[in-house]
Symmetry: C2
C-alpha cells in the first residue's frame, strides 16, 4: 500500500453502533476504512448497516454519493488484516478493562509502526489498559458522542505516557475528517463532556427530588432556554457575552448569586429508588416504552436537520 | 376600553432591554402594549428601540409588518395610565428589593382588579416584595431569558400566597403569546434555569481550575457536543433515549459512573482571583474587549437563524 493511501486509511475495531459511526465519519471524507470485529455475525452485517445510515444521511442532504462512499469500506478477515496500512486505529470494544487491555496488546503488536491507536471508551482511562505496551506512547482515548457523524466533538485524553506527537497526530486527524477534537491535559473520570452533563443532571435530579418542578418543565427550561445558546456557544462564551465588560464583569455581577446557589448543590441525590420511579413514570407517561425507538429516529432526524442548518449558516467559522 | 381588548392588553413597567423585549413578545402577537418607566429619557427612546428590533426581526424573516406592530405600542404618561385596561403587567425594574417592593405597592393599587402582575427578576423571590400587598395573590415571578423574543422559556415562580388562578392565568397568557412557561412549585434561589446553568458552570470553572482543559475546549465540548441535543430535548429526555430501556435503564447502566463523578463535584471553586484572571485572559485572547458588542450581534443573529430553523422544522410540535 502506498504511503499516500496509508495516510488516509483507518481501521475500525469493533463494529457495533459506535464503530459503524466512526466508519461513516472516516469514509465520507474519502478515507479507506477497514472493519474488524471478533463477533463474526456483527462484522458480517456492519457494512450493510453503514450503507443504510449513509443513505439516510444522503436523504437528509448531509452528504452525496452514499453508494460510492461505501466502496471505501472494507471488511477485514482478521485484526492484522484490518490494521495493515492504517495510520489510525479506533477501538470500540465493550467497556471492560480486561477486554481493552487484551485487545490493545494485540493491536500494538500488529499495527503499523507509526499508527495512532484511539479508544472510544467513555469511562476507562487509557492508563488502565495501555501501561504494559511497548507502543503505549501512541495510545490514547478518543471519546466520541453517539452518533459521531452528527455530533462532531471528540474528547482526546492522553495517558501519562501518551506522546505529544500522538496527541497532536490524533487531533490533526480528527480535524481533517471534520470532527471537533478537544484535548484533556490529563486523565479525569468522565472526561469533560460527561462531567458537565453529570453536573447539570445532578441538579435536574435534585430539583425533581425536591418537588420544585416536573421533569417536563426542567426539560423545557433547557430546550427552550439554556440549550439554544449552548448549541452554538459554550458556557464560557455565553457568560462572556452576558455582561457589558465580558466574563470578569459577569463574575463580578453574578458570582455571588452562583456561589450562593452552589452552596446548595454540593450533596448528590442518587438516581434510583422512589425518585427514579417517579421520573420514569413521568417519562413513560409522555413517551410510552414502545415509542422509544421511534423517538430515537425523531432525535436523529432533528440532529440531522440541525447539522444541516449549522452547515448552511457557516457555524464552523463563527 | 372593551373587555375584548382589555384581555389582550399588557403593561410593561421598566423599559430597559428586558422591558423592550417583553413589548416585542406581546406586540408581535397582536397585543396592545403600554409602556412606562420612571426614567423619562429611557421611556422616550423605548419605542424607537423596539421598532429597530422589530425591523431586525423582520429582516431575519421572523415576523412581518414591523411598522404595523409598533402601532400596538403606546407610551403611557404615568404608571396608572400604563396599567389602565391591562390584563397583564410585567415589571422590569432594577434588581433591588426595595425598589420592587415600592413599585409593586403602586402597581397593586392602580392595576385593574383582575390583572396579573409578573416580575422579570432573576434573583429575588416574589415573597420578598409582595407580602404586604392586598393583591399579593395575583403577584408572581415571570422570569424571562434575554432576549425573550428569541428565547421563549419563562419561569413562573409563585410566592406562597400566589393563587392557583394567577399562576394558571400567567401560564395561559405566556402560552398564548408563544412563550414556553415552566412552573416552579415553590420558591428556590436561582429558579430552574440559573440553577442548571450554575451547576454546569461550576464544573466548567472546576475543570479550568484543575488545568484539565482550556476554556475554549470546554466551550467546544458543549457547542459541538452536549448543546446540540439540548437545543431540542431536555436533559431527562436525552438520557431517556440514550439507553434501550429508557431512563430507568440509563440510570442502572450509568448511575454508578455519575455518582462517582458527582462525589468529586461537591466543592465549589470561586469565580475570582487567579482563576478568573486566567479565564478572562483566554477569552480576551479569543475575543478582544472591543469586539464584545459585535459578537453580541453575531450571537443574536445566530439565535434568530436558529429560531427560524426551529420554526420551519415544527420543533414546537416535536
Amino acid at each position: 500500500m502506498a504511503a499516500g493511501s496509508a495516510a488516509r486509511c483507518a481501521a475500525i475495531i469493533g463494529t457495533g453502533l459506535i464503530g459503524q459511526g466512526w466508519a461513516i465519519v472516516f469514509a465520507r471524507m474519502g478515507w479507506d476504512v477497514r472493519l474488524y470485529d471478533v463477533n463474526a455475525s456483527m462484522l458480517a452485517e456492519a457494512r450493510t448497516l453503514i450503507l443504510q445510515q449513509l443513505r439516510e444521511l444522503e436523504t437528509q442532504g448531509l452528504l452525496t454519493g452514499a453508494d460510492a462512499i461505501i466502496e471505501h469500506v472494507y471488511v477485514a478477515s482478521s485484526l492484522a488484516d484490518a490494521v495493515a496500512g492504517a495510520s489510525y486505529i479506533q477501538e470500540n470494544s465493550p467497556e471492560k478493562v480486561d477486554i481493552k487491555r487484551a485487545l490493545f496488546s494485540e493491536l500494538d503488536a500488529v499495527a503499523e509502526p507509526d499508527a495512532i491507536i484511539g479508544s472510544s471508551t467513555s469511562s476507562i482511562p487509557a492508563s488502565a489498559f495501555t501501561e504494559h505496551l511497548p507502543g503505549r506512547h501512541r495510545c490514547l482515548v478518543a471519546h466520541p458522542v453517539n452518533p459521531p457523524y452528527l455530533i462532531p466533538v471528540v474528547e482526546l485524553c492522553p495517558a501519562p505516557w501518551t506522546s505529544a506527537d500522538a496527541l497532536e497526530g490524533a487531533s490533526a486527524i480528527m480535524s481533517a475528517i471534520g470532527q471537533k477534537p478537544v484535548r484533556l491535559r490529563r486523565e479525569i473520570e468522565g472526561f469533560i463532556l460527561n462531567r458537565l452533563q453529570g453536573a447539570l443532571l445532578q441538579e435536574a435530579f435534585r430539583l425533581a427530588s425536591e418537588g420544585i418542578a416536573s421533569a417536563e418543565d426542567i426539560d423545557t427550561t433547557v430546550k427552550d432556554g439554556l440549550g439554544l445558546r449552548w448549541s452554538f456557544m459554550g458556557p464560557f462564551e455565553t457568560i462572556d457575552l452576558n455582561a457589558p465588560g465580558g466574563i470578569a464583569d459577569y463574575c463580578a455581577r453574578y458570582g455571588g448569586l452562583y456561589e450562593s446557589i452552589g452552596a446548595t448543590q454540593g450533596e448528590c441525590v442518587t438516581w434510583n429508588g422512589a425518585l427514579l420511579d417517579a421520573l420514569s413514570a413521568e417519562r413513560r407517561g409522555l413517551l410510552p416504552q414502545e415509542d422509544l425507538a421511534k423517538r430515537r429516529f425523531w432525535r436523529d432526524e432533528k440532529l440531522m436537520r440541525l447539522m444541516r442548518h449549522k452547515q448552511s449558516n457557516g457555524d464552523n467559522n463563527g
